[in-house]
Symmetry: C2
């Protein structure tokens, strides 16, 4: 691989030198800085031009892009004085500008039509005219205010894209024009987001990544090693106070922490390519990581950036695709907005780059086919050619564990898949300032539809009417709180007291992740720090049994504490409640479930006191029937709850939950089975298999060493599941006596038919 | 047409006579009763066999049906003792049986494979063995209990389908077998649902239609003129008390009313083919109407049933297709379950029959293409051949007014369409016992998605967990009530006091329906009986204006009363509230909006007192932005409400509304504009045109003669709309002075740009 790139680089170099005279209007002597070189290369441009008209996906993308940019150019130049928050006109317009500029630059190169170069020059000149006198952005909400946008983050986005546009027209511009742009716009711009905002630039955070990359990209275009060094390694001096925090309550920097682009690659990415903030932000971060990597590879191949940390950047693309549901939508872990998917422009770039620089994995071609567009550069050409040659293979998402932490030792996200069900089980680290207090939480999907939901963030990104499109206060008061998640809340207090300072120092521990048996896939993890003195262990099993029409979920949440506590375990099912097997009292009108830590946002719609039998709730979503069956103890409380109390701006989605509460309890096991068992057709009006097929479940054994559950079906067959709680060796042989009968097995767990 | 059918009949007759010896195992002398003759004919069978393998849609349906029925036959015969309500096992099984029997009979004829005939015989024999000793069904909920099912209605369904099965195997059976079936099953069955249940059989109601048709179908198979006469004209003597009611509170019969199949065709169908109960029940009723019409046409062509009442049966199929949204789902008027569509088996039959007997309209072929199946008979053959020959044309649904009432003079349903928007405006009659108290209500669709909803029924059809799958009590306490609809409720009392006795005697009056200008389509109607002493007039305009990206709705609800009342006008928007332009007080916890007439099911989530300015609510649904802007007077109350109070079984959908309340008011105009104006992409995170483009609307003139509204856009253009309230002549010229300026126009209304 290394040799290939070197060779390619040499080739580009030679071809570039040869062709320059004919394709540019100015003549440069310094061939090492001949352009384009960042994302497009001279060789790439030449190849693309040669193939145009014969590469369908590339041609289609080009045609659409041309139509879009032609319309934009026809609409004139719009460079308003910055004023608005995200969602407002000036924000949206400047955002549009950088996207359009990047595309116009590419069109100039590919189509060799000066109209695009002129447009790029004219818009950049308008910015260069405005920038020197621009004050800091008038909106004061950010810890690092930008000039074009309300935060440096968006200013950095702007520079990442416009650097590419500048690279494309660099040779076409006159020396004077370049000097104006560099002196009045690019250099002061790069300085402002770095030296001017060390609290933004000198961190390990997705914000900083953008800042680093913005500076790095323009450095590569301008061939400025000082700036490039600043991008890669951060500012040498920042004078940041030790306890500085950002808007989300995240710490700016810990003592002795490395900063700059490489540090941002080192730390938040695990060896498996999982980005600690979660897939929504990983998607956002992938673009700058990969686009800069591509540029570095093109300009400074000696950096071997795609080999850095054992190829983590390429692994990250696969990790991200695996963090999406059947529709390609990312699991909304932590502050994730639902609906974001691998159809986003960031993932088009990521897939194309990963294909070209990652060994041309044919499964990526099928993702590109779904995306129905490519990047208009050398990577997009490779993808389009691969598809044209019929190389695409289906991308099969399997069960996978993605470790968290720079060294992969800070828990993980475990995904269990058995078509059509997917369990997303989170036993990871805090996830920086975008993390939620949701240790051992899970969500459940069927064929791309959330069944048991992770709420995601409380924000309407870029919808100005909702708090300027920014984080809403309910993100902190609700979405981040533990009770907003499908996990244990003890004593109505969130994990780590909801304190970032504590949470960010801790992570859950993986205990078992074993998907070797496709009919019994298991993930088990432990959390001992969320509530000091209380140990949590959750085991999730995705079970294929011929009796059930689809894979079922066995969920065992084991709680052990020296003192008595109250434990709440919610299931945020989505859909219409059809039936419960328990008698409840309706709370009319509904009352708030509590006063703080998220409880103030929950309405109690009904309340039941358990008789000690299984509690079962049957619901309907998108014409499918689901049931959760859960063990209870006598006098446990069961709440039917709904999100939406204390929500004066109607920011929350008013969706339901069932919550099991154990009071004044030291040790407890919540064992549950979740089934997708039936269908309804509003056209034929047939309800098929509308009832749960679980007759009874029971915790038949539980101590420090073992937990055993029986599942009895409606056809009276019974299976026994046993897990070893303190030895996760696959080699150990266990024998356990339950009700005077001995059970023997080898390994961490067993499932046996006992009736 | 008449000649053709006679000819066809003669031909069938001859061919039947010729072929009988070779295709049947018994020999009949009475050729006039040779079988099959109901739905399949001997000629049809011959044609189908000749074409098999060359008619894709027919062949596909046949293959699927064969696979389905082969699997059923393999599973054995299941004729359980009746026990359950709809949704339960015995109900579902017997329902499945009649559907399977009908198909098995058809397969016997088409495939000429005795296995299917044997299956039909064996299942029918099992019924014949059980039926003579069957008591009335043990479930007591129905006003007319069946024997196989809990209500005679389902028993009739059974007989309609099994008659067809019997017809298909009639000639194959021995005389003794036929005698057993007729004496032990079919005749007592027909007697039980007619003579045994006159309150079911002798009505004008969809229930009775099924009863009449069941008796008529078996009569045609058995060549029994007495039974046929009973089917067509009802029982001569029924001894029904004058005030008998059914389960839904509908009257069984009014004095002197005609009954039987023909009366059921006369009365509930309007000359436009609108069935007064609404499309959900029209769909349900179409099957027996059309299948019996087809059978009558085949056996008794002299009845000229398809010409009856100026061809109303064929018109009804077009009416029904027009009563569906862009996805083919029926508007859930009255007791309609959402999701029912022209993909239902009833509509497959209806479309196929309407095609063959209604002049082979090529637009119906495109519906059949979407349905992807045909009836396995002569009509399905015609459809499959038409499609094969490439005759299909798109079915274009236009704006249409479908008059209600036997003579078309009892109001109407007006549908205004301008892509992608559809307004469904209901100013019809009560709709028999399935009617809702919703005079002048409307709903709004965009491209097949409900934006402002009609709640539909409160029932989960055939979902046993929910009240046996039957009507829930909330259907009466909520779904039928006026406040559950997008129309005026006066003094918190439903129209006609919610009394069927009054409602069923009244209907709204159409005032204007003019869709001649595709950019200004208008429907206006009046209701003077819902609240004696109060006159309601609602005008709905679907307006195409280049300033707006999509057609907008102008809604003018004019109320005139001699005495002061309270008026509530809700808009049941679907989606997430994004923003209001008014300040409200949150009601936390929410309280019930009232104590009766549906108000007890509404939570008040917030309350505002108007300052007299426009009230605007902006919401998001499926990533589209909508706004309603409505005029208010100072001190009007505005409620943000939610369905779901007093709902102990969680039967209701907890969906939102905005309600405008005018208190202590005699005359009032509620003028509103509803816009679909923007989009959001969770992938690009761009919000486009997120805000309403209406700056201001105002009622600038209102008296008995005219109402005038101005709409000012955010670009400060202003348009004036004037409607004449008491002359709907298109020829009259009007002059009106508003603010000292004269406006002159010809016809019922005008829209003028005034700024």
């Amino acid at each position: 691989m290394k040799l290939n790139f070197s060779f390619l680089f040499a080739l580009v170099f030679i071809l570039t030198s040869c062709k320059k005279e004919t394709t540019t209007t100015t003549t440069e002597n310094d061939t090492s800085s001949s352009h384009p070189k960042l994302i497009l290369t001279k060789q790439g441009v030449s190849d693309i031009r040669a193939q145009l008209g014969t590469i369908p996906l590339f041609d289609e993308t080009l045609a659409k892009t041309k139509a879009e940019i032609d319309a934009e150019i026809a609409s004139g130049i719009h460079v308003p004085i910055p004023k608005d928050l995200s969602g407002g006109y000036t924000h949206a317009r400047h955002k549009k500008n950088f996207l359009v500029l990047q595309k116009a630059g590419v069109l100039y190169q590919i189509l060799d039509d000066e109209k695009y170069a002129k447009y790029v020059r004219d818009v950049l000149m308008a910015y260069a005219k405005m920038y020197p006198t621009l004050p800091v952005h008038p909106q004061t909400r950010s810890y690092a205010r930008g000039k074009i946008f309300w935060q440096c983050l968006n200013d950095s986005n702007w520079l990442v894209y416009t650097s590419q546009a500048y690279d494309c027209v660099y040779d076409w511009l006159s020396k004077e024009e370049r000097e104006t742009l560099e002196n009045d716009l690019f250099r002061p711009f790069a300085d402002y987001i770095s030296k001017g905002n060390p609290q933004f630039f000198n961190r390990v955070h997705n914000h900083s990544t953008w800042g680093n990359v913005a500076v790095g990209m323009i450095a590569l275009v301008m061939n400025d090693d000082e700036l490039l060094n600043r991008a890669l390694h951060g500012l040498e001096v920042d004078n940041l106070p030790a306890d500085a925090k950002d808007n989300d309550g995240g710490f700016i920097k810990t003592e002795g922490q490395k900063v700059g682009f490489l540090a941002n690659l080192d730390e938040p990415f695990s060896p498996d390519g999982y980005y600690t903030e979660g897939p929504y932000y990983q998607r956002y971060a992938m673009y700058p990581f990969l686009i800069f990597a591509q540029a570095l590879q093109n300009v400074k191949p000696e950096q071997k950036i795609f080999e850095y940390k054992d190829g983590v950047l390429l692994k990250a693309v696969d990790a991200l695709i695996n963090l999406s549901d059947a529709d390609g939508e990312f699991f909304p872990l932590n502050d994730g907005q639902k609906g974001m998917s691998y159809y986003s422009r960031e993932l088009v770039t990521a897939v194309d780059i990963a294909y070209k620089y990652g060994g041309e994995n044919p499964e990526l071609l099928s993702i590109a086919e779904k995306q129905q567009k490519v990047v208009l550069d050398d990577t997009g050409l490779a993808i389009a050619l691969g598809i044209k040659k019929g190389k695409a293979k289906p991308y099969i998402k399997k069960s996978i564990e993605l470790r968290d932490g720079a060294n992969g030792d800070e828990g993980a996200v475990g995904i269990l898949r058995s078509d059509p069900m997917e369990i997303v089980f989170k036993y990871a680290a805090q996830g920086l300032s975008h993390g939620h207090y949701d240790k051992l939480s899970f969500s459940l999907y069927e064929n791309g539809t959330e069944i048991i939901q992770d709420y995601g963030l409380a924000r309407y990104v870029n919808i100005e009417q909702k708090g300027g499109g920014n984080y809403l206060k309910e993100n902190k008061t609700w979405a981040k709180q533990t009770i907003a998640h499908n996990t244990i809340t003890q004593n109505e207090t969130s994990h780590f007291q909801g304190k970032y300072k504590i949470g960010s120092k801790n992570h859950s521990e993986k205990y078992i992740f074993d998907v070797s048996d496709e009919n019994l896939q298991i993930a088990s993890a432990k959390e001992t720090n969320a509530y000091p003195g209380t140990d949590l262990q959750r085991t999730m099993v995705l079970l294929n049994d011929p009796f059930f029409s689809k894979p079922i979920v066995l969920d065992i949440m084991k709680v052990t504490s020296a003192k008595a506590n109250q434990y709440d375990l919610p299931f945020y099912y989505l859909g219409q409640l059809i039936q419960t097997n328990f008698t409840y009292e309706v709370t009319n009108p509904p009352t708030e479930l509590g006063t703080k830590n998220g409880y103030q946002h929950l309405y109690k719609e009904a309340e039941a006191t358990s008789n000690g039998e299984n509690a079962k709730l049957n619901w309907l979503l998108n014409n499918k029937f689901y049931s959760v069956t859960t063990t209870t103890s006598a006098n446990d409380e069961i709440f039917l709850a709904r999100i939406g109390a204390n929500d004066p701006e109607f920011n929350l989605r008013k969706e339901p939950a069932i919550i099991i509460r154990k009071k004044n309890t030291k040790n407890a096991v919540f064992a549950s089975v979740i089934e997708s068992h039936g269908t309804y057709s509003p056209v034929s009006e047939f309800a098929v298999n509308a009832y749960s097929n679980v007759k009874h479940i029971e915790v038949v054994y539980d101590d420090a060493k073992y937990t055993a559950i029986i599942i009895e079906t409606t056809e009276n067959t019974t299976k026994l599941f046993i897990i070893s709680n303190n030895t996760n060796s696959k080699e150990t042989t266990h024998t356990l006596s339950i009700n005077e009968k001995n059970y023997t097995w080898k390994g961490t767990h067993t499932l046996q038919k006992i009736n």
